[in-house]
């Protein structure tokens, strides 16, 4: 369960987000500038709300009343930003292993196999295609054993064909690793295909919440 309840000023408006996320995959859907990415930034600790509380599974990450504000490196949140930000000066392998936590059970081979990046491990980042970067960034985030995975428009940078091929990987992450995913998109179809719940944002506020779309059930086993 992810509790997000905060206010954060951003440019001309103030985000006021109050939501409890308890489904395996939640999509944050809304037009550009609605504040979707800011919500992810706040959960990851990259932006500090004015007030409120953020907690994952009962662990408080931010609580303005209690004076809690964990820095990003103590939050155990996997965040794949829209531009994926793979480290350009490291090999794919070093990228993926960068955030590996001590004592965590997840093996590189497991993740590499699941996301089909074994053959990419010894390559350099500039040699990767857009879809490969997405998978490597996903692997890197997973290797840090996150308690939640935040994905910002993971499919925006790839063409329709690649999009169709990456979706199953996300479904495997959900089904095999059981890491809850919060997924930002401005594509309605994508939101309803993958997510168990769609939270609709507009101008910094939640305007709608929807369960799974009727047509989404048939696509779940596309992998």
């Amino acid at each position: 369960m992810i509790v997000v309840d905060f206010r954060l000023s951003q440019g001309s408006f103030t985000l006021d987000i109050r939501v409890r996320l308890d489904r395996p995959i939640t999509a944050l859907f809304g037009p550009s500038g609605a504040g979707k990415t800011t919500v992810l930034d706040a959960i990851a600790g990259l932006r500090t709300p004015l007030a409120g509380a953020i907690a994952i599974g009962g662990r408080s990450l931010f609580d303005s009343d209690a004076g809690i504000n964990l820095p990003p490196h103590h939050r155990h949140v996997g965040y794949v930003a829209q531009d994926v930000a793979l480290f350009p000066h490291m090999s794919v392998r070093r990228n993926v292993l960068y955030g590996r936590r001590e004592g965590q059970k997840l093996l590189l081979s497991t993740v590499a196999n699941m996301l089909e990046i074994e053959t990419l491990l010894d390559r350099n980042v500039p040699q990767l295609s857009g879809g490969e970067r997405q998978r490597v960034a996903l692997a890197r985030a997973l290797m840090s054993a996150p308690e939640v995975l935040l994905l910002d428009e993971p499919l925006a940078a790839v063409d329709v064909e690649r999009r169709r091929r990456i979706l199953p990987y996300l479904e495997r992450v959900r089904d095999e690793l059981r890491v809850p995913i919060v997924y930002v998109t401005h594509d309605r179809g994508e939101a309803s295909q993958l997510a168990d719940e769609v939270v609709v944002l507009a101008a910094g506020r939640i305007v709608e919440r929807e369960g799974p779309q009727p047509d989404a059930s048939g696509n779940g086993d596309a992998a």
Binding site: A44, G45, L46, P71, P72, H73, H74, R75, H76, V77, G78, Y79, A81, D83, A85, L86, F87, P88, H89, Y98, G99, R101, P126, R140, A141, S144
Partner: protein, 224 residues
Amino acid sequence: MRGMQIWEITSFTIATAAFATLLMLPPGLLLAWLLARGRFHGRLLVDTAVSLPLVMPPVATGLVLLFLVAPRGPLGRLLTEAGVDIVFTWKAVVLAMAVMGLPLFVRTVRAGIEQVDRRYEAAAATLGAGPLRVFFTVTLPLSRPAVLAGAVLGFARALGEFGATVMIAGSIPGSTRTLAVAIYSFAETGRDTDAALLVGVSAAIAFVALALANWISSRPGVRA
């Protein structure tokens, strides 16, 4: 002047300048990072103070240093108790060179760090890396060309240091006499040929160092 003497002055100058460059690295990297990424009160003050030796007369900077590290100065007293003499030794030469080279190093590295895309640092942080690890594994490697260029510039500046050196190290042959100081001493005492010879040597070293700095900064470094 015998070749031996030229070699002695030249090698002493290069060695002290290299040592001074190493000495600049820890405070220089810290200051560059603080100025590029830090948000703290007094930032402008630090920024200005760091660049002060760049615009102050070097002799004035030398006098300030002399006041600080002289046996009865605030720092000098502690050093004397610890059994370290600085003034009029090779250590004073290194100190003067480091202080005068530091602003160039800091300014160059700072500009390099500012070029590093913060997204990489943010990504490293969400992957569990604390500020130190982010700096050494992401920020520093991505600004490496600037660090190298800054070090070469600081080294070149140290090579030519005169004013501050004369104030706190003097011009003792074989012990504190650098190329710049020797050129002045020789010209002053009518040894024009010797002075001209050393001018040639300094010009050659400075040329190589600057060409190196320009080559480093013109290379397409890691895209940040």
